[in-house]
Amino acid sequence: MRGYLARKTLVYGVTFVVAVTLNWLIPRLMPGDPVQRMVARAAVQHPETIASMTEYYERTFGLDLPIWQQYLNYWAALFRGDLGTSVWLFPTPVSQVVLDAVPYTLGIMIPAILLSFVVGNSVGAMAARSRWLDNVALPVGYLITAMPYMWLAILLAWGFGVALGWFPVAGGYDFGLVPQWSWSFAGDLLQHWVLPFLSLFLVSLGGWAIGMRNLIIYELESDYANYLAALGAPRRLIRQYAFRNAMLPQITGLALQLGTILGGALVTEIVFAYPGLGKLVLSAIQNQDFFLLQGTLLFVVIGVLLANFVIDIVYVLVDPRTRTGLTGGTA
């Protein structure tokens, strides 16, 4: 177990360094000069003013230094929690912009992932033993799973937002309101939350249900289930074992989903103009704000790595089969 931990830590550590380096590199290889953009946006004509503005911005962003120093500074700043300054929302620090967006993303992703997991697996487990439910749940499950997410989201936006008018279709809250701790603002937040959440919830629901159904049916036909039945075990016990074992791969699946928790809502946030990290990525690209892009992506990468690391460890604790695989087994 200790060797395993050390190995995993090393792998994730190296991945992290590579990811940070790539992340630092990519915006610098992208077309478009952010400083020129900002200067252009200021709409000044005077060449001297332009020169001094350029110099000022380059110093602020640290672009006047040799490339290797920029890289080292980037790491140093990273450990101070400093992700630079946003060009688009100048002079707000990138970390501030990102942190403001995080709650929106988590707010739709966490409930969508967890609820679809719970509901989907429950429906799947029930479908595995009820022919009637199976006949309904299976086609519906396949339908919503096969539907491209984009369609589903647009269909929801059109149906519940435009046609029925029950929910707003864009934004995190009404643009006329000022964010504050009040019931009316909370209600407004909730209204804007429903459709993005629902689209994410529905899109993974079918997969969980179908997966669980198939896994349980497979488990119920496995050797240990037959042996228990031959020894007169009641169906309840056999189902309980089957359910437990079927849950293991589902937990891996959940883990993988949790890994996407910070970056997985990109399309959703774009379709519903929801102000989370995904939307931020888009805005950063549109505004050629490479500090913001870097900061957001870095945040997403760290989230993915961290989630997967935790999951690797939890999974080993849950499933004895992986555990013996690690110690070489005694079989």
Partner: protein, 316 residues
């Protein structure tokens, strides 16, 4: 008499029709008897073993009866059968290597199973540990997962588990087939010991390798293509087999062929017939050196001597 099987027919439903894997078999197993069942793969041994304890969803009880300790077993009624399983008739399945839930510790699984039978684990634990010791296992295996055990250890755990409630009849399917020679010997010895200790009253030991049966079986039943060919005490089967198929099976064993003045038969030529549309008459006809006109009719499974039954027209 512990077990009486009468004209039992169990078929598999398939898309191409019924596979008549067990097509009218009649035999008895006495109290304390260890009966071996031998025959090539696919002749219906596993089907017979399963029929006695639990039909799977594709199996259909077409006819005949099974009486255990004077009570007829409700083979086709899964719910009613459940009361007889484990306490009266128990099974060591063909797949014993994967018979235990991989994600439960062995002791925990036994506890779950026992409590489903309203037996307290703590009450049985001393006996359980004693029996594990008897088969050469430390009680510590109860705290392990199946994957942590070797094949021979798993087989012995399954033996102890399957017989824990002292069933009247134990069906062991290919109990030694997956094991190396030394584990085979240990398991074979354990089977006899369990009978001798009275943990199990009677046993049916199924194998495609007839030589295994010489170590454990009192009597041997030879099956061919869903029918019975011969049943006799193990010694008789070795020294005076009567059915041509039995002779071939024995002849296929080099050791036995040397020891007895049997003509050396070069393996067994040909293959058993399809059980989807089995031919009328004796099913061994295509491969039998003694085949004659009469064989177009199915030979009855007749008694030729005390405890010796044969189904063959060429045997007087």
């Amino acid at each position: 008499m512990a077990l009486a099987v009468n004209d039992l027919k169990v078929w598999y439903r398939t898309v191409r029709g019924d596979v008549k894997a067990l097509d009218g078999v009649t035999f008895e197993v006495a109290d304390g008897e260890i009966m071996g069942i031998a025959g090539e793969s696919g002749c219906g041994k596993t089907t017979l073993g399963k029929a006695l304890i639990r039909l799977d969803t594709r199996m259909r009880h077409v006819g005949g009866s099974v009486v255990l300790d004077d009570v007829e077993l409700p083979l086709a009624d899964d719910g009613a059968m459940r009361r007889h399983r484990y306490r009266e008739v128990s099974l060591i399945p063909q797949y014993a290597m994967s018979a235990m839930n991989p994600t439960r510790k062995i002791g925990r699984m036994i506890r779950d199973l026992l409590s489903a039978h309203n037996v307290r684990y703590a009450d049985v634990l001393p006996e359980l540990e004693r029996r594990l010791e008897l088969v050469g296992l430390d009680a510590e295996v109860l705290g392990r997962y199946p994957i942590e055990l070797s094949g021979g250890m798993k087989q012995r755990v399954v033996l102890v588990l399957s017989t824990l409630l002292n069933p009247s009849l134990l069906v062991g399917d290919e109990v030694t087939s997956a094991l190396d020679v030394s584990s085979q010997k240990a398991v074979a010895r354990a089977l006899v010991e369990f009978r001798d200790h009275g943990f199990v009253r009677s046993m049916i030991v199924i194998t495609h390798d007839i030589s295994v049966l010489f170590q454990v079986a009192d009597t041997i039943l030879v099956m061919y293509a869903g029918h019975l060919a011969e049943k006799a005490p193990a010694k008789t089967i070795i020294s005076q087999p009567l059915h041509p198929y039995t002779k071939m099976l024995i002849g296929a064993l080099p050791k036995v062929g040397d020891r007895y003045e049997e003509q050396q038969l070069e393996g067994i030529e040909g293959r058993p017939p399809s059980l989807l549309e089995p031919p009328a008459g004796c099913r061994f006809r295509d491969r039998c050196p003694l085949v004659h006109d009469k064989c177009a009719e199915a030979p009855p499974f007749r008694k030729v001597a005390e405890g010796h039954h044969v189904a063959c027209w060429a045997v007087s």
